[in-house]
Assembly symmetry: C2
Homo-oligomer: 325 residues x 2
């Protein structure tokens, strides 16, 4: 069972069996809506795979998989309010389809329900460790979102700070979910730590790749508007690295683009991409991404289970992390 | 130990020992701010008293007491955003002092931290039952808030629906907290249920009294602006009961006051209060409040512990629920 599909099918079936269709409908319809907007379901699938590294019946971990998916979608609903984003996965965001108050309250209910599903696990002796892991990730996601907000108005963000922020905001939930899967499967503390570090490093590598693709991806493959980060003057790894290594004149030109309001988006995107390419930022970004990827696989290698059991995680990581620029 | 003070002191000391002073400060300063705005700390104190009914060392329940207080304050932060309220306890609300995004995100972090404190309990074997109880209350508080929002735009709210809403919005957290205290103290299922029903009925009685005081309280004692509910056309028990028993002409007059925009608040307050008094609504409200209060004490009576252990709960309930109108 090396493909993603069985895990995904199993998870989607569990979601269907546990819908949010209770009263009051004004509270739960938005929950049902956001949970069914799609998405890769990467976090729950990889949680199930982490369980499956150690034990066969990965259905046992389905409630925890739902927990991380509900939490992830809760964070999307609230982040979209904070970002005043009208669209999510090509559809109206919750606060746009309903209103901000609905987004706040339905999101709150989702966060509580995320915990409720942890109570549906078979073995309650694991609950403290599972909740401890989940809480850590959940708190770090909030902290990561705060750092992301802070960075918008700061001009002295270091690369180290940026990497910490993307770790908190995007990779700890993947990593924490995988740790939860391993804990539920009775893995040793050492194994649990390795699987966490695998998820953490895959997550950071994935985000660095996402930063790259936002500026240099093929529009038809990327799925989002290419150049969005440049237009919004986001201080991604690409920009921070460029500011670090550029000579003074180039740095000034880049900062000028980032601080001058633009009417024409395309010339700005083209110019900034040109600067980044001249500085070999795409290559440097991929180099760093590859380092995280290699670290991830080193941790997976360190787990002492038959290689065949690792294949699905290797496959999904390779599918998520493309090989070349 | 029959007074409130020892429990309150113990709780306030625990709060001071567990401050929210971590980084990022933009996330945690608002948490520290709202938690230190004051308030009666009724929920944590009564949770400790519920524990103390059954066991001596009520300090063991302090983490759970903090959980309900953090959750309560989280709900205030998010409710104040939804209500666009500028003031809370006479000070600026979080979203007013900072901004809406800060209110959303700091509130989210509080909700997660509420769960984190449950992990600080000594006996992890109780954790599933404690979290199950807390989750039920937390979900019901969200549902109660949604019903409250729904009722603003509905003209057919029944008294039964209203009582259910105030139960969810204001009494289940008190009741759930007391149940948590009893569970942690190893009380039997029957005792746990009695203490829950005590808290639930005290909570509903308290809210009915609050409805009464909002219109008929002495301004210097009530602490809020008297007549606020009337000005805002809130469909409280007083109004719903009046609409139920009034003759057609009086009902029409009352509805007219509630649907006609008013420039002058005082004449409206005076007129609506006159209608309510003519219909003996204050007396009827107190009658219903007294029923809930009597039910509460019946449940406390049913708990088989020495009477002396019940005294602090009897005292605080009597202090919260005044005897006469």
């Amino acid at each position: 069972m090396q493909a993603v599909q069985p895990y995904l099918d199993s998870f989607l079936q569990y979601m269907q069996q546990n819908p949010f269709d209770a009263a009051p409908s004004e509270l739960y319809e938005p929950v049902d809506y956001i949970l069914n907007l799609g998405g890769k379901r990467m976090r729950p699938v990889m949680l199930l795979m982490a369980y499956h590294l150690f034990k066969d019946n990965y259905e046992k971990a389905l409630p925890a998989a739902y927990t991380v998916e509900i939490f992830h979608n809760f964070s999307l609903v609230h982040d979209d309010i904070m970002d005043a984003a009208p669209l999510r996965r090509g559809k109206a965001t919750v606060h746009h389809k309903w209103d901000v108050n609905t987004g706040i309250l339905s999101g709150d209910a989702m966060l509580v329900w995320a915990y409720e599903y942890l109570l549906k696990l078979d073995d309650m002796s694991k609950l403290p460790a599972v909740i401890r892991t989940f809480n850590k990730a959940a708190i770090e996601v909030c902290e990561g979102q705060q750092y992301d907000i802070n960075f918008e108005t700061r001009n002295d963000v270091s690369i180290e700070e940026y990497l910490k922020m993307i770790e908190l905001k995007t990779s700890v939930l993947l990593a924490g979910g995988m740790r939860m899967g391993a804990i539920i499967a009775d893995a040793s503390e050492e194994e649990v730590e390795h699987i966490y570090q695998f998820g953490r490093n895959v997550g950071i590598a994935f985000q660095l790749q996402d930063d790259y693709l936002d500026s240099f991806g093929a529009p038809e493959k990327f799925g989002k508007k290419v150049g969005g980060d440049i237009v919004q003057n986001k201080k991604t790894y690409l920009i921070l690295k460029a500011l670090e290594i550029a000579d003074e004149a180039t740095k000034a030109r880049l900062l000028d683009y980032m601080t001058t309001p633009t009417v024409e988006e395309q010339p700005k995107i083209k110019a900034v991409k040109g600067i980044l390419q001249d500085l070999h930022i795409p290559e440097l970004t991929f180099e760093l991404k590859n380092q995280y990827q290699a670290t991830a696989f080193k941790h997976l290698d360190s787990i002492d289970v038959p290689e065949a059991r690792k294949q699905s995680l290797i496959n999904i990581a390779n599918a998520l992390l493309i090989r070349e620029i």
